[in-house]
Each structure stands twice: as C-alpha cells, then as structure tokens.
Symmetry: D2
Subunit: 108 residues, 4 copies
C-alpha cells in the first residue's frame, strides 16, 4: 500500500461512519420528509467511501480515479447535510468536506 494512501483511507472511513450514522438518524427523525435528500446522499456517499477505502487498501490501479469520484460525491453530500441543523447532519457535513478535500489531493 502506498504511503500517501494512509491518511486518505482514514478520512474515507470516518466519512463512511458519519454518513451511515446520519442516514440512520435521519430515518429516525420525526419528520422524515425534510430529510429525504439527506438520506439518499448519505447512502450514496457511504457507498463510494467504502469503495474508495477498500480500493486504496488493496492498492487498486484505479485508486486515483475512484478518489476523484469520491471527492465529488462527498461534496454533494456535504452540501445537502449542511442545510440541516441536526447534530448528525453537521457532523456528517464536516466529515464529507474533509474527505472531499483529501480525496481531491489524492486524485491530483
């Protein structure tokens, strides 16, 4: 595994967890109607973060391209999450923007 993958894997796994927790909490909110876009993007973002982390861990030749895609999806998810005041959404937005930045560096 390349040295510079280390930080990016860590950040992807943190974002994965933030997205899955936000997803679970959104589905438990009283008014789920407000959260439907957040639920959808949380799942999309969790999927790509898990995929990107695994790809870097197994030294995939496509890791850079996967991280580039991951950066874009994280940014979209962060933009949605930051519209909401729930703690889980704010924590998720922060994790998403951090992951977007680190993945973008990895991809460049």
């Amino acid at each position: 595994m390349e040295k510079n993958f280390h930080e990016c894997i860590k950040v992807c796994l943190e974002c994965l967890e933030a997205c899955n927790r936000c997803y679970d909490n959104c589905l438990s909110e009283e008014d789920v109607n407000m959260m439907k876009e957040c639920i959808r993007l949380d799942r999309e973002c969790a999927e790509i973060c898990a995929y990107a982390a695994g790809a870097m861990q197994r030294n995939s030749p496509f890791a850079s391209q996967i991280c580039k895609l991951c950066a874009g999806i994280c940014e979209a998810c962060g933009n949605e999450c930051q519209k909401h005041d729930h703690e889980h959404c704010k924590a998720c937005a922060e994790a998403c923007f951090k992951c977007a930045e680190v993945c973008r560096q990895m991809a460049s």
Copy 2:
C-alpha cells in the same frame, strides 16, 4: 461455480433490483414518513442480496451461511413491503419472498 447456485444467484439479483427500485421510489413518495421502515429494510435487503450473489458467483466457502442470513433479511423486508399498497412495494415483497425461499433451500 456449483450448478445449483445458478437459480439462487438469479433470484438474489432480481431481489436486489426490486429492493433498490422500491428504495428509490419510497424516497420519492409524497409522504416519506410512512415509508421509513420500508426504506431502511430495502437497503438492508439490497446489501445482503448483492453480497450473497457475489459470494455464490465466486464460489465462496461461506455461501450457504450467507444464503441463510439472506433468507431471514429477505423475509423481514417482504413483511414490511407487503404492508404498503404502492406497486413498487408489492413487487418488492414478491421478489423478497421468492428470494427468501430459494436462499433457504440453498442453505439447507
């Protein structure tokens, strides 16, 4: 790949598709509050169906145990989906019960 995996893989992939479509449609319903348990179980069921199909395709030594777990999750998802009148829920319930049955046979 073992011969008897063939039908089970096909049914798991059909259930995967039914669950993902139901999930997408549930999130697009006017009243998402009613559908939140369905959304949650659709994702759970899609995850295990994708995992089970892949495990059988690559001839995993754990395929039987995975199919046993898959059968239980499919049944739970089918039970939730059949509470709703939406076409996508009814189609999903049918796919889930079919998959539960075929996976249970595979596991036994």
Copy 3:
C-alpha cells in the same frame, strides 16, 4: 429508474458474474502465478460493476460518472483477460468489453 438504465444494469450484472467466475477459476488454475493480474483485475471489475448496477437501480444522481469509471475499469480487465486462453478468461473479456461499451454510452 430511468428507462435507458435498463440495458446498462443488465450488462453490468452479466459482467459482474463473468468477473467473479473468472476470479474463482483463476484461483483454481494449476499455475496461479500466470493469473495474478487477472485475479486482481477481476476483483476490481466485479466491485465497480456491482456498484454501478446498484447506483443505476437506485437512480443515483452520480450514475453517469460511475458508469464512466466503470467503462475504464472494464476495458482494463478485458485487456488483461484476453491475453489468456482459458474459457473463463475469454468469456470474461467479452463481457468486459460489452460492459465498457454500454457504460460509455450511458455516461456520454
């Protein structure tokens, strides 16, 4: 689910199966040393095909970008598989090139 996703999902799922079967068979060959790049790319390709099929099924807003990435990985896997004479490699190469083509159209 968008109409034009239908064919692409089908082709991705066929490629997923071809890759997983080729992976399993490569690991069962007498001389695995010859097949190591094939094993590696079969797994990479199976991962992206499963991911792309799921994304289209749940109507992900990122489906086009995912299909674009999928096309590139399928092509790389097909190029490796076609170097080998095993039936499973030839079948996999064919599925990969088909999937690359359909995903590329989807992404454009």
Copy 4:
C-alpha cells in the same frame, strides 16, 4: 448507533484493512501458488468485515446475525493466514482472531 457497537466497528475496520493489505501483498509474492487460499479468504473476510461495520454503523436490525457470520469467516481467514510466515499474513491473522472474538461477543 448503540454504544456497544463502537468497539466492534473499529475492530471490523482494522480487520478489513489487514485483509485487503494481505490480499494485495499475497498477489505480489513471487510464488502466488502458495498463497491462493489466503488470497481467496482475504477477500471473503474483507467483504464481510466491510458489510458488518456498515450494518452496525447504520444500526441495522440484523447487526447481531451479521456479526455472528463475520466471526466465523474471520476465524477461517485467521486459520489460513497463520500458516504463512509473511509479515502481512501474521498481521492479518492477528486482526482476524481479534475481530472474530469481538464479533462473537457482539452476536451473543
């Protein structure tokens, strides 16, 4: 997310990484023939660990059953890895046995 999931998620993600690194390194060994069972089980174990971690993160109602399955697969992978003297195999065996233990507690 339930409190007691926290440690188990962490251990599953560590095992995921150990399995993916061992997989990558096994495929880069001079004699891959010796490592083919290790490669196969590393992938199986990585798949279930990623699945189990995600299921706990999103508070899946099936988390216990998934962890029970995970424990068995981790143990099988650990048993294979400990047959080999490579550093990556020894590290993977350790991560697998740790994960098996924590998942078994979670499932009980």
